[in-house]
């Protein structure tokens, strides 16, 4: 059982006001807030142990490197990876997926196939689309059911023998759909395809054990699990590490460099060119510790209760339509309101302290091709939100909808 009020004290930003009203922060699918313990980690590092990593022989460099590599080990444990060589620190999910798409490109020939789904965020769609364009591979986006789940029959049909890559989201940043990743990985492997999972939205909603799930690649971001921006992880399972070419070159990822040729470090360093965001990585490790201390299963259960309650409250608002009705929804829901532009609605709700998201949510094919709309409003929760905050948001929406209704 979460002690939400106690948790909220770990996040001082939650007690600030916006426009003279208490902040109700419901844009967690965009980014989560950072607890004091994680912020303190950065301060401590910069105050006591800061030096560039992997490059110096002096004490501070050694301490800084140790902290960085301990964070790598920490993240390996957090997602159940076999060892820390599987953990590549990235700038975030987008960076990790691009790294995978670029690194696997050499496997693809004209007529091969890459499969994504219509649920995908642009960051797990566009890199593969562009990879297909460069290689002549087919690029297929598998459709959804009426409820907003991935159509597994359509996926089965799409998995032709020449399928090389299947890249699927674990949890939609628009519908909140939680996808059956174990099943999808099994289907991909049966077709001898490599499977990448986009874990950006799932990290607070279930325990991730990449070995049990069986995926080849798993990408996620720090800033959606109470860590800082600018850091994430790409997990690469040991059997596929040799398949992934490095695509960014420079210092740190090289072994020997001459004018004639260059040899590269082993994984994971071969994928980490330049000075890494080592403070970000250390903060990410601290964020993982924080989530463990609160209780990952409790977090997942509470957030599911919150979003279910939000769905109930919003369904009661006349003219408001929630997108999708998936078998399992976590983290967020998106909605439209008759004759109301999402920009107007969310801009006005903001003036009463309610932070919602409006726009395409980086999912234009999902919105336009599946739902026939250009924009939505989105409400996304985290475990520091309360049921009272959901009530407040719903009350504000009821209050402002008549003010932004067009033409009626």
């Amino acid at each position: 059982m979460l002690e939400v009020e106690k948790i909220r004290r770990d996040f001082p930003i939650l007690s600030r006001e916006v426009w003279g009203h208490s902040l109700v922060y419901l844009d967690n699918a965009a980014t989560t807030q950072v607890p004091e313990s994680v912020l303190q980690t950065a301060l401590d590092h910069y105050r006591c142990n800061n030096a560039n990593v992997h490059r110096g022989i002096h004490r501070l460099s050694e301490l800084s490197t140790q902290s960085y590599e301990q964070a790598r080990q920490r993240m390996a444990g957090f997602i159940g990876a076999p060892d820390d060589r599987c953990i590549v620190f990235t700038r975030g999910t987008t960076d990790g997926i691009n790294m995978a798409a670029c690194g696997l490109e050499h496997l693809l020939k004209p007529g091969d196939r890459i499969i994504v789904s219509m649920l995908e965020h642009h960051s797990n769609m566009v890199p593969w689309q562009q990879c297909a364009r460069r290689t002549g591979a087919d690029f297929i986006a598998v459709g959804l059911t009426e409820e907003g789940d991935i159509d597994l029959r359509a996926l089965e049909e799409a998995l032709v023998p020449r399928t090389k890559v299947v890249a699927i989201s674990c949890c939609s940043n628009v519908l909140g759909t939680v996808t059956p990743i174990e099943r999808i990985v099994a289907m991909a492997h049966e077709a001898s395809a490599v499977c990448l999972l986009d874990g950006a939205q799932i990290m607070r909603h279930r325990l991730i054990d990449v070995q049990a799930i069986g995926c080849d690649f798993f990408a996620f971001s720090g800033h959606k699990m109470m860590g800082p921006t600018g850091i994430g992880v790409l997990y690469a399972a040991p059997p596929v590490q040799n398949l992934l070419d490095p695509c960014v070159f420079g210092g740190e990822m090289v072994d020997r460099v001459s004018l004639r040729e260059t040899t590269f470090e082993a994984a994971p360093l071969r994928y980490e060119a330049g000075t890494p965001n080592y403070v970000g990585a250390i903060m990410l490790g601290a964020a993982a510790d924080y989530l463990e201390s609160v209780g990952r299963a409790d977090i997942a259960a509470y957030e599911d209760e919150l979003i279910a309650y939000a769905e109930t409250r919003l369904k009661g608002i006349c003219g408001l339509h929630i997108l999708g009705n998936p078998q399992h929804r976590s983290g967020c829901l998106s909605f439209t309101v008759d004759h109301v532009h999402p920009f107007d609605l969310c801009a006005l709700a903001d003036k009463l302290g309610i932070a919602l998201r409006s726009g395409t949510n980086c999912a234009q094919p999902l919105l336009e091709d599946v739902y026939g709309i250009p924009y939505v409003s989105r409400l996304s929760v985290a475990f520091y939100n309360t049921f009272d905050e959901i009530d407040r948001a719903a009350d504000v929406l009821e209050q402002v909808i008549p003010l932004v209704c067009q033409g009626f």
């Binding site: 426009w19 003279g20 532009h341 920009f343 107007d344 801009a347 006005l348 003036k351 009463l352 003010l403 932004v404 067009q406 033409g407």
Partner: protein, 145 residues
């Protein structure tokens, strides 16, 4: 009563925002202004009339009618309709040289400066730029350039 120039109309508008009070009430005042803008017929909402650089869809017609500015427009969002209403009330049927003399102050001198995010401000700047371009071109034509 003499002619009211764009800056006089703008001053009244700024006073209206100040009277509205806090950010929420200033925003609802903007929405009220939006409701006063005559709706553009659908046939006018062509792609060629879209103002580039706006996140909302903005259709704008700005022309020089023998030294008098004519302006009408519309948007798919109420907040930008409100801005169009303000600009139209300031500039429609005004002499071009009065348009050119007017500094746009209703954003910076009201809560709109903080209400509008950077994308919205960029969109408003695009609308104002279009008005300025038509006005400047009219002056050059007049001067025989």
């Amino acid at each position: 009563m003499g002619m009211r120039f764009p800056w006089d109309i703008q001053n009244d508008i700024i006073a209206g925002f100040e009277e509205a009070g806090d950010a929420f009430n200033q925003f609802t005042y903007l929405l009220q202004l939006a409701s006063e803008l005559p709706e553009l017929p659908d046939s006018f909402k062509k792609d060629e009339a879209l103002v580039p650089g706006c996140q909302s869809q903005v259709w704008l017609y700005v022309t020089d009618d023998n030294g008098i500015m004519r302006m009408q427009g519309d948007s798919d969002t109420l907040m930008v309709r409100g801005v169009i209403r303000i600009l139209a009330s300031m500039f429609d049927s005004q002499p071009i040289d009065a348009v050119l003399k007017t500094r746009i102050e209703f954003i910076d001198d009201t809560e709109l400066a903080s209400i509008f995010d950077s994308k919205r401000k960029a969109g408003v700047a695009s609308i104002v730029e279009m008005i300025g371009t038509v006005a400047a071109r009219a002056v050059r034509v007049d001067a025989g350039c």
